[in-house]
């Protein structure tokens, strides 16, 4: 099944914590649970390593969606990292919503190392959502748009 050229192919950045979600993505891989190639994963030690600037940077440079995956609350390898990430992202997402960025371009999902299925499902859903939202025009730098 090949993808038609005219179809909108979003650029999606997925930040995954090393201990749970990156491993969850590995499990999705070894279980051959497909999700669209639009998703590119960046490995970070913990969800709390993700600076809101990274997320805005991705949008600036042309990303259409950014998702952050970390260990489930309570299961953080570093005990508390995802709790900080949760507050940071909640506030950031709320701000993006406030300035008129479409809801759904950003997402946080807790995915454990054992949840390959959830990882794949989440990515499929997210890509679907971003496809329905279309190209990110509100947060990109025009200079990158050609």
């Amino acid at each position: 099944m090949s993808i038609k050229n005219e179809e909108f192919r979003p650029k999606i950045v997925a930040f995954c914590c090393n201990w749970c979600s990156y491993a969850g993505a590995d499990l999705a891989g070894s279980s051959r649970l497909a999700y669209p190639a639009d998703v590119k994963i960046i490995r970070v030690p913990c969800s709390c390593r993700v600076n809101p600037m990274f997320i805005l940077r991705a949008f600036e440079k042309g990303a259409d969606g950014v998702i952050l995956c970390g260990c489930h609350p309570g299961d953080c390898h570093y005990s508390t990292g995802n709790y900080y990430a949760r507050r940071r992202m909640t506030l950031l997402f709320s701000m993006l919503d406030y300035i008129g960025v479409e809801n759904g371009r950003t997402r946080v999902e807790w995915v454990s190392a054992a949840e390959g299925v959830k990882f794949s499902q989440t990515m499929n859903e997210f890509v679907e959502k971003i496809r329905s939202l279309g190209e990110n025009v509100r947060l990109g730098d025009l200079r990158c748009k050609n």
Partner: protein
Amino acid sequence: MQELITRAKELLENGTVARVLGWKAGDLPYNPEPAYFTNAEELKDFVYNGFCGANLSKYMIEASKLEGKTLVCLKPCDTYSFNQLLKEHRVDREKAYIVGVGCKGKLNIEKVKSFGIKGIESVFGAEMTDNADTLTFQTIYGEKTCSYAEAMLERCHVCKGKEHVIYDELIGESKDTKDAERFAEVEKIEAMSPEEKFAFFQKELSKCIRCNACRNVCPACSCRKCVFDSTKFDSAQKANVDSFEEKMFHIIRAFHVAGRCTDCGECSRVCPQGIPLHLFNRKFIKDINELYGEFQAGADAETKGPLTNFTFDDAEPSIVANR
């Protein structure tokens, strides 16, 4: 004002303080500047009136490095900023002699001018002792008046209260100026459709000239080196072009001060383009209050800030889409 000058002289003379940080009369009736005074002679130029809007707490970062104590005049809202700086070890309590000065609302000369008042030669009604409801301007184009309240800075309409949260002594009376809801403007925007929100902020932010006045005046933006000036993030700066940079700058600036911003309103006061920058900070404050419990930065110098804290059952980020 006289009481303030007398007391300042006293403290300078008895050696309690080495200098006084207050406001010096400007060459126009409405532009006093922050200034240091070291003797009685210099204090002749000391003023404290309705145009002394500047928050002096940030100057205490530098003043904390000087020999001896600095008498600093802080309005009620400025004391929150001082507390916050204290919490962040940016100012030295031992180096400050805080005189909490009364406040009857501070004036916004841009507002006055927007009423068509120009060519101003003198102003009546802006002195602390005046207690005036009306400001009278002698101008080249004749006498003009406007209501004191209408000429106030936005922040004074949503005043946090006239209590000083930290001080060594208090001088001067205050007057309640709150006549609007702090979050009303934010709520108005929240109620808009995404398209309207985007149009609103696009219009406001397109005015930004990246002069950094908002950042440099902000007591919470006290970093030795701002991320937008450093190479640590490869974040381009200065190019006020093409839609994105201002957004990045203002969102990140608001985020960096989230949980630390006392809502002192200086950013909006100094913006040469009149961008209501407080709407960013106040949105974060509102969210923090609603999601993590009421929090007023600078109310004390000890409580953990909301972004360096958490509870096990905090709201998930998905709440944003579901609200």
